[in-house]
């Protein structure tokens, strides 16, 4: 019994000796402080232009009729951006063709005159950079196709003008609307 006790005590001493033998090394540290990196924000907001209120409402349209909508887009982020614009909408009656109501033209006010914007597949592209805080004026023309039949009488069409923005750096892609 005495031998067993001695063995246990020996094991205990070895264990504590191992724990206490952690090695130490010389070290030194130098540093660069106060590094701060901040990302920007990209945001475009549609605003009503003078004399117009949102949302716009037109009544008594007939085939071939066009109406103008003026609106502004402000760069409310911190980064410069590019813009594109489109309209998307539906008739209250689902069987009617939503393509018969469309943006037929979008123009940009350059400070002295309205300029027609380039279009591809129903999207209108503003190709100049919009700086942070800047407001750009746009005038769009909405047209009910002259092929619209009597089926379109007294029908309601609800649409949204949509704006998408992207960074101005190479390789930036357009987002979904």
């Amino acid at each position: 019994m005495q031998k067993i006790l001695v063995s246990l005590i020996t094991i205990g001493i070895v264990a504590s000796s191992t724990i206490g033998s952690a090695r130490a090394y010389f070290t030194d540290t130098d540093q660069s402080s106060d590094n701060t990196l901040t990302t920007g924000s990209l945001s475009a907001t549609i605003q009503a232009d003078n004399g117009y209120t949102l949302p716009y409402q037109f009544t008594n349209l007939v085939p071939g009729d066009s109406q103008q909508i003026n609106f502004n887009v402000q760069n409310t982020g911190s980064l410069p951006l590019y813009l594109k614009i489109k309209m998307a909408g539906t008739w209250a009656e689902e069987s009617l063709d939503s393509n018969l109501m469309a943006l037929s033209q979008v123009e940009h006010w350059n400070g002295t005159a309205w300029e027609t914007m380039a279009t591809t597949d129903g999207e209108y592209f503003y190709t100049a950079q919009v700086s942070s805080g800047n407001v750009e004026r746009f005038r769009s023309t909405v047209t009910l196709s002259n092929t619209a039949s009597n089926d379109y009488q007294e029908k309601v069409y609800t649409a949204s003008i949509k704006v998408a923005a992207k960074q101005v750096v190479d390789g930036a892609e357009w987002p979904m609307y």
């Binding site: 030194d28 540093q31 660069s32 920007g40």
Partner: protein
């Protein structure tokens, strides 16, 4: 008894302070890294040493997505030979990246260059983020196998 001492001019070199970062930031026209800081390092002790760079966050949550989207490249130049140390997200530097594994006192100075950029593929989740950090240059004996 020897001495182990690593000196840098990291405090003298202006810190990384950039704003309005965005995807595609930090690229030159030919695709190179355009945002760089070069820091001079010298072994002014008597012992050989190794050193690493470690990032210590200041007032910044470790969940900040910018830590995963900000790419960092580190190189060091010794005796006119430049060696790539590591290239990867800033988050990888939180645990430290070994720079020079064998820096002798007689090597004189060497230059560490740290470059940063954000790939164009980064998403909207990094908008409006701020990260603050210290860059630590930590040296120890070469025989220290703990890092």
């Amino acid at each position: 008894m020897g001495t182990l001492q690593l000196n840098t001019n990291a405090q003298a070199v202006s810190a990384f302070t950039f704003s309005d970062l965005e995807p595609g930031w930090g690229y030159s026209e030919n695709g190179d890294w355009s945002k760089n800081k070069s820091i001079t390092v010298d072994n002014s002790g008597t012992l050989n040493l190794k050193y690493r760079i470690r990032i210590s966050l200041v007032d910044t949550e470790s969940s900040n997505p910018l830590l995963d989207n900000l790419m960092v490249k580190t190189t060091y130049t010794k005796n006119d030979v430049t060696t790539l140390v590591y290239e990867g997200p800033l988050r990888d530097y939180l645990t430290g990246k070994l720079v020079d594994p064998n820096f002798l006192p007689e090597n004189g100075e060497e230059t560490v260059t740290i470059s940063v950029r954000i790939p164009i593929t980064a998403g909207n989740d990094i908008q409006g983020q701020i990260i603050k950090f210290d860059v630590l240059f930590e040296a120890t004996q070469i025989s220290n196998n703990e890092w």
